[in-house]
Symmetry: C2
Subunit: 540 residues, 2 copies
């Protein structure tokens, strides 16, 4: 049995473009004598349409686009994901299904509608889809035999996999799952383990097609595959691949490429940057290069994602900038081959100070002055981006973002924040990881103590615990939702210190709300997987 | 039968504070010889906790806080809303119910758990709550008789009101509904009509308690009431009220205060500003006063909400500012009695231009230069707010926000955007409405053509259709989700013009995502009721 796995990168909203991608894959499958071709969940609309799924004419457009796909699908079984209209809504219910169209030799056999609609972390499927009710068994004719397919969509096969169990009971011989399963650190491997267990539990071969590509803060990693009782074969991670696999030829159990988590994470972030930039119509990005490790990593990611000649770094030194900040940044830029501009902020800083002094009794102290510097830099970066029609990348990491150690409208400016969900410890690990390939990030950037350089001799450690301590507290509070008392005990840290950090997290929600989006890689990204009010008086 | 309606303004997260508010209302009810006291939905936690409801220790804290309320509730039936824990979760399901505790003479009788969990517009209750399964009938002893109460929570009584129908079938004599029903223009009246129909349908008296107060972009308007077959009595809108009503004494059908929609909307926005500012620990706000109608309205709202001495207006004229912009702003500030500062942006604008010119071939043209001016103003406003520890109010209205006619990090800066969900036509109506009270907004501000004043002789109408045309297109596309072809036909406008506006809406989603939150008053506020991706290639 020859099955084509069409792991394609759909563009959300680009129904006509996605239709072309689908038909092109169908032609490839026909050329490769495949008997079945399978696409990911919601291939035709893309996954992540939001409330466009509540616009009737958007759903109609998907249904119309399916017609040409059906016509193109001669001598083939096609299983392709799309939203399709449901009976008119009442009571504020949504009006479409998350469906798979099953096409046999250029005729529509029918639809399977997703039954399990996740409504946790980044998902809110019941907002947009009503639940399917019908079994997903379809008897289709292959070249030499009839086969009973059990079609399911993503969440259907996780957890208790009830819809799939029912399909097996109804005679399904081959299980097919269309997915849009988001990446998280370590997820590709746990996903394969879970699916291997499922294939063994039901004693049926399982074909699973995962989406690939970035969509706002969602990131799909691909790693589609075929799993039989004894063997498996996977497609690439983090890129498109269309491949025909003969199930009988799979003899060994491949494991996913043995890349460690950091290597996968680096690939994930690269794909996220590339897709956000290109899918939003940009080619070129700009960012501020401070001499610190965060902007160094983002510059390197951008150069790897887009090519060095599509990245411009702006260095904006002040009176507080140390000499190594400039020289380290220049060295990094040379190593990467990216363009740089240098714009001192000293004169504008002085002028703002002079103009604002009459209003303030205590101008030259504190946060106001630090924020002005960061905001002058933000203004200059945005002016460059406006003038050159490029996208600004923000360079905040998760550790500083969660405690609000960043300036709104200052260093937070930008359209996309590639490492917004990456803790500081992981930033170091990614730099070291990338430098193994070739040492582009100067060692001094990795080794020096982190500093915002907004006042004399400033260090991050003046305001924050060491990042290993901070990351441990944040991980326990955010990723694991632990009680502060439990965290204090577990980390052997005074409860007052834990509470001080949690207070910083609570009080900086307003900043994160206005910050740039970026890829969720932790499964607990603020604003995506973790949704909290700004107005919150913790008193309990 | 004497029932105390405790329409209180809970603070989200402030469980101890809410407990005190509840106990204080219980004491008032006891003093007023009430037999029953009813509170709104989720009184104890506040409505709008987001993922705090997924933290076990947050739910535990609510359950613990209930104990003191039970003890305080002697000689009284208390019905109070809170989240309570559910059996441990599987499959990513949430772990609490949205409940009402029913207390009789200082003993907990039991809980009713909300059955219908809305998952549309601003709601996403199934993310946080599992559905209740039990009938909400509770037999309680009043002074002289036993009565069968039918307890429901908000959505339970809307639409088909199935849970309530079952309660009536099971003998409910008095219907009690705990709500957190958000305000929208016209909603108080439609809500009362709907509840009157429900009371008539079931032929039972209905007591409904609605929350009151602002919480981020949510706004609850109160207007709780008692409705019998022939009569009704309502509590105040847009403020707390705790009132004991003897059902037998209600002889006439009051209608809600006969305020028109604009008067209600003005009250709603005032409450939203006040609650956002106070609940976030501020007393004082600052805003930029441009001489235009939007900032004039926001300044007036702020003065009405917080008192004139808690509002500071910063005027930041440039070479393009017309003389009337300054004089009109000064007149408004004098009329309101708010403080002003004037900071010219000319010098800083020149300095930025001079510094950036070497980077750009075409500096002195176009959007880059306009945005720099707006961003200098944003920087100055934020510096003032940082230094004076006040909150910046953003002044964008819905019409300009939806088409992206605003500068990110420029005029969009601020923590709260009071009129972000108010169309331009409504801005005019609100100004006229407010001026009827006393004419604080100079007529010239209302009469002159809108202009951003970022280049010589600029008018909004250079880039946009007239606001009445724009508002009509936006209303059809956003509020009514109409097909562009239908809109073109209906408005007798070329499809190209409709599509050009829709393109502006699609392409400016990234700005709105980074904009300040503000009260949802349209039931279709961007980001609250209407959730869309940034990355979207409309090709269908």
């Amino acid at each position: 049995m020859r099955i084509c796995l069409a792991q394609i990168n759909s563009h959300v909203g680009d129904i006509i473009g996605n239709q072309k991608r689908i038909i092109s894959a169908i032609k490839q499958a026909q050329n490769e004598q495949a008997e079945i071709i399978v696409f990911p969940e919601l291939t035709l609309s893309g996954y992540g349409c939001g409330d466009w799924l509540l616009h009737d004419y958007f759903i109609s457009a998907c249904e119309q686009a399916l017609e040409a796909i059906i016509k193109a699908a001669s001598h083939l079984i096609v299983v392709v994901g799309l939203p399709r209209s449901a009976p008119p809504s009442t009571d504020g219910q949504p009006r479409c299904y998350n469906s798979a169209a099953i096409i046999e030799n250029a005729k529509l056999l029918g639809f399977y509608d997703k039954q399990k609609r996740p409504n946790y972390l980044l998902f809110n499927e019941p907002r947009h889809f009503i639940a399917g009710q019908q079994l997903g068994n379809f008897k289709v004719n292959l070249k030499h035999r009839e086969i009973n397919l059990g079609i399911s969509i993503c969440e259907d096969i996780w957890h208790q996999a009830e819809p799939v169990a029912a399909q097996v009971a109804a005679g399904a011989e081959l299980l097919i799952n269309l997915g849009a399963s988001p990446y998280a650190i370590g997820k590709p491997n746990t996903r394969q383990q879970s699916f291997t267990a499922t294939a063994k539990r039901f004693n049926r071969p399982l074909v699973y097609l995962n989406a690939v590509g970035g969509q706002d803060d969602l990131l799909f990693d691909g790693h589609s595959g075929v799993i039989t009782a004894q063997a498996s074969q996977s497609l690439a991670g983090f890129r498109e691949e269309i491949k025909t696999i003969d199930i009988k030829q799979i003899k060994t159990a491949d494991r996913l490429n043995q890349d460690d988590d950091n290597k996968q994470l680096y690939q994930a972030l690269t794909l996220a940057v590339r897709d956000y930039v290109y899918k939003n119509g940009f080619k070129h990005v700009a960012l501020g290069l401070s001499g610190g490790i965060d902007s160094a990593l983002v510059a390197t990611l951008a150069a790897d994602a887009l090519g060095a000649n599509n990245v411009t770094a702006i260095m904006m030194p002040s009176q507080y900038s140390s000499q190594h900040s400039i020289s380290d940044s220049e060295q990094l830029a040379r190593n990467l081959g990216i363009k740089t501009h240098t714009l001192s902020i000293e004169k504008t800083h002085q002028l703002f100070a002079q103009q604002l002094t009459p209003l303030f009794a205590d101008y030259h102290q504190g946060l106001t002055d630090e924020n002005i510097q960061a905001r002058i830099r933000g203004l200059m970066l945005m002016a460059y981006a406006n003038n050159q029609n490029c996208l600004v990348l923000a360079t905040s990491n998760k550790s500083e973002s969660m405690v609000g150690y960043s300036t709104l409208y200052g260093d937070m400016v930008g359209g996309f924040a590639p490492i917004i969900d990456v803790y500081k410890a992981q930033v170091y690990a990614l730099c070291n990881q990338r430098n193994q390939l070739n040492p582009v990030i100067p060692q001094n950037i990795i080794d020096k103590p982190p500093s915002a350089e907004l006042k004399p001799d400033q260090k991050d450690s003046d305001s924050l615990p060491d990042y290993d301590v901070l990351d441990a507290i944040l991980t326990a509070f955010i990723e694991q939702r632990k009680d502060p008392l439990v965290i204090a005990k577990q980390l052997n840290t005074p409860i007052s210190e834990i509470k001080a950090i949690i207070q910083k997290v609570n009080r900086s929600e307003y900043k994160r709300r206005q910050g740039a989006i970026g890829p969720s890689v932790s499964a607990m990204k603020s604003g995506t997987d973790r949704r909290l009010p700004i107005t919150f008086r913790p008193n309990f």
